[in-house]
């Protein structure tokens, strides 16, 4: 079991991939938050379609995206089925009846709406995050959103430990294997060994973090006055345009849902 997924190659020169990280995240956050308000096929369907159309301009290839997103596909199916079974709307023709399980055409349509909405909430963020470099994100958070620099760069420093953690995970597994631990067929036993391996990883990481903090302090990291930055991220017109486009798109989807009468707020 490898710890981290292989990197998905994206084209960093694509028109939307080049945008400011904060602009990308905000553009993805607008539809995700607005879709939380209502459960309806119109706004979810329109936004999902629009963001699917935008996939090539993020510089993300379809084959790679599909390979990355298969768990989302599975989750959408499960959300659809779960909502179809446990919804109160059971009108229409009966499709499946087995004891307490009852799926009708109306309940399946209800479930499909919920599944569609989950996909529409997830996709914008997936596209934005796939094309964001964490270093650029930390710079932009500090510059544009005024996130305290100690926290932004402190978490970035910890984030940079992730490849080391992945390597350490392999070493821990091999060391345990050499002692005869691991490789069990009994799932409970395997789970216990996995737990021990994870704990060892956590202890090593905390120790490493403590050393890292001392090293950072020795280089004046905690001194907050007169901090200068090596990189200057820019928030240009194209970034503002991406934000505006996302907001406009979301507004259009909501208006369409209201106009067709499909809009149905969750809290009502």
């Amino acid at each position: 079991m490898t710890l981290l997924q292989t990197h998905l190659s994206t084209d960093p020169g694509a028109p939307l991939a080049r945008r400011n990280p904060v602009a990308k995240l905000a553009a993805a956050l607008i539809p995700s938050v607005v879709l939380l308000v209502s459960v309806d096929p119109v706004s979810s369907g329109l936004l999902l379609t629009a963001w699917l159309i935008s996939v090539p301009s993020w510089g993300v290839g379809w084959p790679g995206l599909v390979r990355r997103l298969w768990p989302l596909g599975l989750a959408v199916v499960m959300v659809t089925l779960g909502n179809a079974v446990f919804t109160a709307r059971k009108g229409g023709a009966t499709m499946l009846e087995a004891g307490p399980l009852l799926i009708t055409t109306e309940s399946l349509a209800t479930g499909a709406t919920a599944g569609l909405r989950v996909a529409a909430i997830a996709l914008p963020g997936v596209l934005a995050v796939l094309t964001i470099d964490p270093v650029d994100l930390a710079d932009s958070l500090v510059r544009h959103l005024r996130v305290p620099a100690r926290f932004a760069y402190g978490s970035l420093a910890a984030f940079r430990l992730a490849p080391l953690l992945a390597a350490e995970w392999e070493v821990l597994g091999r060391a345990r294997r050499a002692r005869g631990l691991g490789g069990d067929r009994n799932p409970l036993r395997a789970l216990a060994v996995l737990g021990g391996r994870l704990f060892a990883l956590l202890v090593g990481a905390v120790r490493r973090g403590t050393h890292l903090a001392v090293a950072m302090d020795a280089r004046g990291f905690a001194a907050s006055a007169h901090r200068t930055s090596a990189r200057r991220p820019e928030f240009g017109r194209a970034d503002a345009a991406l934000l505006a486009a996302s907001a406009l798109l979301t507004a259009v989807a909501v208006t369409a849902a209201l106009a067709t009468g499909a809009w149905s707020p969750v809290l009502s």
Binding site: G82, G125, L201, A205
Partner: protein, 200 residues
């Protein structure tokens, strides 16, 4: 700590080691989440996915909030650690997009609120279990809106209750055990959580 402050100030100001270790805990859990997302959760969610019992296996999401709070013992630690964990899992191939980030903020707030109500003075088993329950409640309320949005009302209640149960037991109980075990290794020496240990 460059300038000497009052004890009260020092209790609330984050040292570099607080920030880095909270982040590191967040990163470790974020990486674990990424595996959980792509391997374990997908495998388990087959049989029970989106049923009212689904939150019972979702308690792992809430652990960093409790562990972060118990280790750092500062205002905001639970929220910060949970948000870092969520963000990191997002970067390592989460398919849930920003929904993971929003979940992280919510769950972190749930735990943070409990620590705040205890005035950031209680860090024992009870505080851990209550904070886990708070995070579980937040998770349940968020997920009945997002993932099981069209459930009948009574099934939504069952869903929230099982989220609270998993928060109390898995996040609270397991999180507390984890911090105690961490303290015993001596890795928490720079924190007061590591100094409350009895000598062996």
């Amino acid at each position: 700590m460059s300038e000497p402050g009052t004890v009260e100030l020092r209790r609330h100001r984050w040292r570099t080691v607080d920030i880095v270790v909270a982040s590191v805990i967040g990163v470790v859990f974020g990486v674990v989440f990424a595996i959980w997302n792509n391997v374990v959760y997908s495998a388990i969610s087959g049989p029970i996915g989106s049923s009212p019992l689904a939150p019972l296996v979702a308690g792992i999401w809430l652990i960093p909030a409790v562990v972060g709070g118990l280790v750092i013992r500062k205002a905001g630690a639970a929220l910060y650690t949970e948000v870092v964990a969520a963000t990191v899992s997002m970067f390592f191939g989460s398919v849930w997009g920003l929904s993971v980030f929003m979940s992280g903020v919510w769950q972190g707030l749930g735990a943070e609120l409990v620590f705040a109500l205890l005035l950031y003075r209680r860090w024992g088993l009870l505080a851990a279990v209550l904070a886990g329950g708070g995070a579980g409640l937040a998770m349940g309320l968020y997920e009945i809106n997002v993932y099981v949005s069209t459930y009948a009302a009574d099934w939504k209640l069952v869903y929230v209750l099982s989220a609270v149960a998993t928060g109390l037991v898995v996040a609270g109980g397991l999180g507390w055990l984890l911090v105690r075990a961490l303290a015993r290794t001596g890795a928490l020496a720079p924190f007061s959580a590591g100094r409350t240990q009895r000598e062996i």
